[in-house]
Symmetry: C2
Subunit: 557 residues, 2 copies
């Protein structure tokens, strides 16, 4: 056994998998057909003012047919941005294969460790051998990723220099909402400088929050949600076998609850918290804890002293007393970040307590120390590092206290023992499911057609994803159509509107219809691990989220 | 979508899977051939004195042929004992199908929630529909499990009464070493009382520590180790993509390091700690921490500030200063358990500190409070609840302190950030792999033949498991052959010798050959999720542990 043989038997077998392309992209000759112009959801004037050169362009659709797109060799750069998501390597494979199909003299350059690699000129030429080694694999390690943004004029000029030296026609940014926004800003900056450099984005994120009616899914969500479903499902089976614990499982997903909702629909655990509903109904932490305890007490009365509770990572950001708290904290951090970072730990927490407004100060003071510490950290995009908040441990603590009170007055007569879990890193880098492998490959392949059509400041769009891959509709949507203005670090910034769970949508409504039964009786579904071979209904199915949204869309027509 | 439809598409498809049986068990007519008598590894006289009626019986092998075993209808009871392991339901399916093949008037009774269900008479009759609903599924929820032992004469008499009322010829106990020992004690007690009731055991445990040359694998190890390998592999890919964190991953496995070693061989993470080696070489906590820091510093010098460190759950039990500490703690707990349990928390830890011998007292006082608290809990078998010890968090703490010291003197010039993980509940209840589905079914099927042969106090044995299922050799080994005397809660008790990692064995030697390279460069293998369909080398392969042990065995002949 070689010490550094990097290939598992599964990886070896998976190399042979040929991703499925939509019919239009299999045809060999494409046209990029213009559709309508879509206004941004709001703040149109401000957006137009920020993007004078790239605003007001139409959506497009890639169709079979001879659009007389250029067959000249093209040099294209690609960069991965932000957290990993399964299938990113297939985006690169799709880009590569599409470029070679147009003209084998084309070159694909991969910038290393994220956007910083573009303006510092750290890159590799992506060869056929490299692509073959990474087809259908998870992770972003082919060229690495990073969270830096391309912001300053110096950095923009750095990008221009590097891209022109390499003879690049376009840069493809594979990332989430912040990265695609950054791509739009870069496209505008290039255009403003009179450069012909194009920027195209591919929609990534396991969180499922970068999407809308034109981009029905962000890649990686399928694999991550199915992997988390496998694990939650296993814990449900364990819970029902040992009959001892309530498992409080926090799931990565940043702000929105799409991942938790998909897991709820796949697995049917006892309780799933949906942050968007909590916000809509203005529920407090007490309300949430009381409901959990009500369910625990009712199950205890039936002799069921176990269960599984799924918690979306972003929960506390949607709970009223925490919402203003997080804002006050962000404001304080921005004002005092240097002072706070230079203090010893034991001085930080009293300092923060003293400088917060009264209600937020009281809340901060009431938290356990490790939570106080974690709350003082933010990433480079100004987002709280929510995945570090041990919300699941905090909730167990609150629930235990409440049940103790209930026991004293006789309204809880059971046993409560809990296990906290956080599923995140296990699910971000799995081998992509067949869906994600196909989807990512198609996104990359479509991206090249948008470049050939001379477009810039676009993200590849995708519709009809609940149908078999052959029927998917790929195209492009101007990023500026998806932007609005938000305050970030105290400044108004253009951002892509995050897609939160639609409480009137198919998935959430299906959840609401059934959740009370799932609280009362065990209705767990045992999902099992993602399968790559076997019956199509097992290995080629999309998420339940996509299925239900598709059904609703067709019913509405 | 039905609110309580319990079947996922995978589970539906998996119902059709027909487990593979060894050739001898496919033949329809069996003989149970006597082999030699095997002496217990030591304490033979004490064991003989404890098991006068059941000691000194021969091992047996099930072969094709007409052994003229009885074809009378048989009533058999089955009980699940201890933590869940993937495939337990297939043991029951194998028992059921074998009974029906002998005589369709036979009955299988499942006792509920573990051994306590036997002497309290809580049971269900296992029907064809029930079995079909649970074929090839994970978990133990078909009839539930429990950790109670059948110890007192009253409990033994309770078992006799219940089993005789049901007309049972035999009881099958599906459990690990403690449960199989309990089965032997029960068999002896029945025989001593002149009862014809037989007791047969099936060897379970995901930990892989109930095995020897006659029982080559304990069921559930295959699926659990492969599931953990999937998750660790995903984290490795994440680590190499984000390039930010050292992931310290503790794995369930109780005492032995079989699970961690299998994961090391499957995934090739940066560092894997093997407890048995640490004990053999008498390494201290400092030695372990220093080695981890040495590797981190060397990787940092190459710009690699990330990696994955796998930690077996039982690690601290094998570290010299902790070994005597755990013993002193167990002694103290036994003496003062009532006093300690009635004290408020804030009094417990000083009490323990005061009452421990000096070295152990100093060690206890140096631990963080949550670790001090967790150490005061034991299960009903007298084992420390090791899965509650946050060893991974403790190690991160120690490593960070050491790296800070090294940074001050310039011998570490990198960045260290860590993420702790504990994989356990995610892996205990997965759908069994093809190997476990086949193995468990075969164990159950073989168990019925041992009952027909009139044997009692036996555990089903299994050899040649690295070969295809058709070539497996199933039989039986008297439990008393596997027992020796150990002190448990201060009393000498017969126990099955735990199988620890053999430092001269094939798996560990393969690990030693390669581990230094895996520390220096990234050599991760991306294992992916367990597959049920696809190429045989993907979905029917045994563990690497079994493969290497098999190779070594054949080479030795």
């Amino acid at each position: 056994m070689s010490c550094t043989s990097k290939i598992s038997v599964l990886q070896e077998a998976r190399k042979a998998y040929q991703p499925k392309l939509p019919g239009a992209l299999k045809s060999g000759k494409f046209a990029v057909k213009e559709l309508s112009v879509v206004e941004p959801p709001r703040d149109a004037d401000e957006i137009k003012a920020l993007f004078p050169n790239t605003f007001g362009k139409p959506m497009v659709q890639i169709v079979a047919g001879d659009g007389k797109l250029s067959t000249d060799a093209m040099n294209v750069g690609v960069v991965l941005s932000g957290g990993p998501a399964p299938g990113g390597h297939n985006c690169i494979a799709g880009l590569y294969d599409a470029l070679m199909a147009v003209n084998p003299a084309s070159k694909l350059y991969g910038f290393l460790s994220g956007p910083k690699g573009v303006f510092t000129g750290k890159y590799v030429e992506i060869t056929a051998e490299m692509v073959d080694d990474y087809r259908n694999t998870g992770g972003f390690d082919m060229i690495g990723s990073g969270r830096d943004k391309i912001e300053t004029d110096e950095q923009v000029l750095g990008c221009v220099k590097v891209l022109k030296e390499l003879g690049c026609k376009a840069l493809v940014i594979i990332g989430g909402d912040d990265s695609n926004t950054n791509g739009a800003v870069l496209a505008e900056a290039f255009a403003a400088k009179g450069e012909k450099l194009q920027v195209i984005g591919l929609p990534k994120t396991i969180d499922g929050d970068m999407r809308n009616e034109h981009i029905e899914a962000s890649f990686g969500f399928d694999t991550a949600a199915k992997t988390f479903s496998q694990l939650v499902s296993n814990v449900c089976r364990d819970s029902a076998s040992a009959r001892k614990y309530y498992h409080f499982i926090k799931l990565m997903g940043r702000s929105a609850s799409h991942v938790a909702l998909e897991v709820a629909l796949q697995v049917q655990p006892t309780i799933t918290l949906i942050s968007e509903e909590i916000q809509e109904r203005n529920l407090s932490l007490n309300d949430i804890v009381n409901e959990i305890c009500r369910v625990i007490a009712e199950r205890a009365a039936k002799g069921l002293n176990y269960g599984v509770i799924v918690i979306p990572e972003g929960l506390l950001q949607f709970v009223n007393e925490f919402k203003s708290f997080f804002k006050d904290l962000e404001d304080l951090m921005r004002q005092h970040i240097d002072a706070i970072e230079s203090m010893p730990d034991k001085d930080k927490y009293p300092f923060v307590t003293r400088h917060l407004p009264p209600t937020s100060s009281a809340l901060y003071a009431s938290l356990p120390v490790n939570l106080q510490d974690v709350l003082l950290r933010t990433d480079s995009h100004g987002n709280l590092t929510v995945s570090q908040l041990e919300t699941e441990v905090f909730l167990i603590d609150c629930v235990k206290k409440k049940l103790d009170e209930m026991a004293k007055i006789g309204s809880f007569q059971g046993k409560f023992a809990a296990q906290p879990h956080f599923f995140g890193y296990e699910g971000r880098c799995g081998q992509p499911s067949n869906f994600d492998a196909d989807y990512c490959y198609s996104l990359g392949y479509a991206g090249v057609q948008l470049i050939r059509a001379g477009l810039t400041g676009y993200t590849v769009s995708a519709q009809n994803l609940d149908a078999p891959a052959d029927e998917w509709v790929l195209g492009g949507i101007p990023v500026s159509s998806m932007l609005h203005i938000e305050i970030r670090k105290g400044q108004p910034k253009p951002v892509i509107e995050k897609c939160l769970v639609d409480l009137k949508g198919g998935p959430f409504q299906a959840f609401v219809t059934c959740r009370d039964e799932w609280k009362a009786v065990d209705a767990y579904k045992f999902v099992g691990p993602v399968q790559y071979w076997g019956p199509a209904e097992v290995c080629d199915a999309p998420t339940i989220t996509l299925e239900l949204e598709g059904k609703k869309r067709k019913a509405a027509k």
